[in-house]
Amino acid sequence: MFSKKAVILLGLIALFVVSIVALTVSSRMHPTSHGIGQGGIAVVGPFQQAFTQSVRFVRGLWEHYFFLVTVAHENEELRRELARSQEMNHRYRELEMANQRLRKLLHFREAIPRQVLSAQVIGKDPSPWFKTVMIDKGRADGVDVGYPVVVPEGVVGQVTDASTHYAKVLLIIDKNNAVDGLVQRTRARGIIQGAAEGRCTFKYALRKHDIEVGDTIISSGLDGVFPKGLRVGRVLEVIKRDAGIFQEIEVVPFVDFETLEEVLVVLNMPAREYGAHP
């Protein structure tokens, strides 16, 4: 009686109408829970929960892992930065100290009316029995045997050997070294000679001369090596024995030879005052 097409069309229209009615009815109903819904929720819920929690766990783990990795990287970077900063800080401090030392040396250099050459100490004597240091200036720089070496604190020693670029300096604390000296306060003369344990002795000072502990010994300039007036050391002990015409005087040098890093070599020594050298 009806064609197939007409049946399908009618079915679609009926479905449309039912849908409209159902939606209209359901939308007007009060939302109450009912058994089927609860059962569905009860069954599906745990799976949902398990899945959701798993996803969250994995996501959390993933995110935290990456977070930790990032933090670890950041930490590593910060540590490196801190180390760099510490190293730079140390370098700046070292530079500041070198700057202060060099400024002092420069002021002292300006105070000496002769040409001086600054040099770095590069090595010490291999033997504990002898006191010499090596400096990084030699004949090519104008340094020669016999030239005095000084620092702002006082007399260091004199050059005993020189190669083209390096020189060996015999320190005043070596037993083989001697400097003609004066007691600054009383002008008493004597010879400062190296002694044991980094000290010196002030020899040939007459008993009659007034020399006290704490007096400053300076170079007299009469030895033809060291310019006059350079500080050498401080009197530590004075011994006047019953016999003998001289007194025994122990002197502590002003220069700390353990921490010696930069020195000045006095170059242009006038022939009048330093006849032994050109």
């Binding site: 291999p126 029995w129 060996k168 037993k175 044991a196 353990e258």
Partner: protein, 173 residues
């Protein structure tokens, strides 16, 4: 080729002794490291090899030090001769006698220096300081000397193996 090894070792010891050790105050009483090499040469190497190194090293040390020229050379020669003489009678190169030989060698060399310093300036009262230094050196030699001897032996063997390996690779037997 062995000369290259000794040049490197001598340079390393010299730099260590003159530029590194002075920075550490607690090493003030350390013995002469190159004397340890002389002892090693005397104990373990043929006379010809040892004598050449001893002479060269003594000369270099004399140029670097403020000691009277020749003092190092003389002390090294005597040390070398002393060690060679001792090994003619005793089997020193075993674990028991080796530390003794080492300390004796170091003390012999320092004794030569102490004698020389005293003779140079009899008025200088260096005996108390000198004896204290000798004791410190003996202690240092006892604690570190064997390691240094071992180091010389090990590095020399490694060097020779390296050199022979290179020669064989280049077709020289």
């Amino acid at each position: 080729m062995i000369a290259v090894y000794y040049i490197m070792v001598c340079l390393a010891l010299l730099v260590l002794q003159t530029a590194v050790v002075p920075y550490f105050a607690f090493l003030e009483g350390l013995y002469d490291l190159t004397a340890c090499l002389v002892i090693y040469l005397g104990l373990f190497r043929p006379v010809r090899e040892g004598a050449a190194v001893v002479l060269a090293m003594g000369f270099i040390m004399d140029t670097l030090s403020g000691a009277p020229f020749g003092l190092y050379l003389i002390s090294y020669i005597w040390l070398f001769i002393g060690i060679r003489w001792v090994i003619g009678y005793l089997r020193v190169a075993n674990t028991l006698l080796l530390p003794l030989a080492l300390v004796s060698g170091i003390l012999l060399q320092s004794g030569i220096f102490l004698t020389a310093v005293t003779l140079l300036d009899p008025s200088a009262a260096i005996a108390p300081t000198g004896l204290k230094l000798l004791a410190e050196q003996a202690l240092w030699a006892l604690t570190t000397g064997l390691l240094l001897l071992g180091f010389f032996g090990y590095t020399r063997d490694r060097w020779m193996r390296f050199v022979h390996g290179r020669l064989q690779r280049n077709g020289n037997p």
